[in-house]
């Protein structure tokens, strides 16, 4: 049986460190996350505030999320960060790509 899992009484016990690791990765905080990670986060929504809450959440994640698709059409939140290209040739998603259902359009 894999590390961190014990089966008892029909309930699977997962080590807390594995739970943390799963969330860390799926929340896009592990650096080289997949584009689908950002898709899921934005499907659930990233809470915004007047103090740039959603932008602050996304900017901590998007520097590390590569994409091989064109920028999301229509997405704009007034952010001017451009896509950047890594030394290995992969592109990273800018905050402007990631965000959002916010005006102006």
């Amino acid at each position: 049986m894999a590390i961190g899992v014990v089966l008892m009484s029909g309930v699977v016990t997962v080590d807390r460190a594995r739970w943390l690791g799963f969330r860390w990765r799926r929340h896009g905080l592990a650096g080289r996350s997949r584009e689908s990670t950002l898709d899921d986060l934005l499907l659930l929504g990233v809470q915004d505030s007047r103090q740039a809450g959603a932008k602050q959440s996304l900017i901590q994640r998007t520097d590390g999320i590569p994409t091989d698709s064109s920028p999301t059409d229509g997405a704009s939140a007034g952010d001017t960060r451009a896509d950047s290209t890594r030394t290995d040739g992969t592109r990273t998603t800018s905050v402007a790509d990631a965000i959002s259902a916010r005006a102006p359009w």
């Binding site: 899992v5 690791g21 990765r25 799926r26 005006a103």
Partner: protein, 288 residues
Amino acid sequence: MWSVRGAPHAHRPAHLDFVRDALAPRESDDGGADYVRAVEEVAAALGAVVTAPLPKPEASSRVTGRVPASLVEWCPRCEADHVPDALFRAAGRQARIVLGPGEQRTTVLHPPPEHRQEKIDHPRTALLDAYFRVNGPTGRTVFRDWMGGDVAAATGLWRERAGDLVGVRVGDRRCDLPEALLDAVREAPEPEGVALLPPNDPYLRQVDRTLLVPDGDRRRQVWRALSGPGALLVDGEVAGIWRYRRTDREVTITLFGALSSVRRAEAEQSARLVAEATGDDPPDVTWD
């Protein structure tokens, strides 16, 4: 747009229909048929009123004149009759009203943008599935609180998914998880890295708070009801809190314990991103 709990959230423009449909009230939910009708009536009024960018107070005033008196209440704070804010926000979501900043801290409502919408079947179930994909083992109460507290809605969703879920224990918490995600959870590498997350970040919102921060004193510091701080994350754990004073260009980080110089340097790099998000120059970082 106004999303879960009526709070403003960023979503992809292609998902406005999805958010509306996933969170649309149903007759089987706690509010019943009366609430469904109320949301629809206010949404229709909002759709008629918000045909161009309009400050929220102005939109509220115009909507009040278009809906039945039974949907309007006296508001002591505004000293005016208007649709209660929670209903107004639910209706705004139903009408796919988009939110934008305005002058003098006023929220401006925008009509729905013309944007191709991604079709997602069974949107409410899809929302729960995405929640599991992002957060792993989750208790029904935690999901319900995140979604907005509707007991009937959460119970119905869990019942729908019952055949796919397995019971999981993390620490002393009993959770559920789709069986298909079990291997991904059990094989997850331990977290590594540093990030400064804002107060309502999904990592802090979509979680059992006691499981993430077992210490009660620390938990109270992280999740304050008013003017809550951001959280310093180190290797997945909440290792402290932070605040950004824009006028002083200063990020103050309060640690819960010792932190290596390497990790401090990484936190200072994250602090630069905090300022970058608001278009500010790199801030000074003060360790408390």
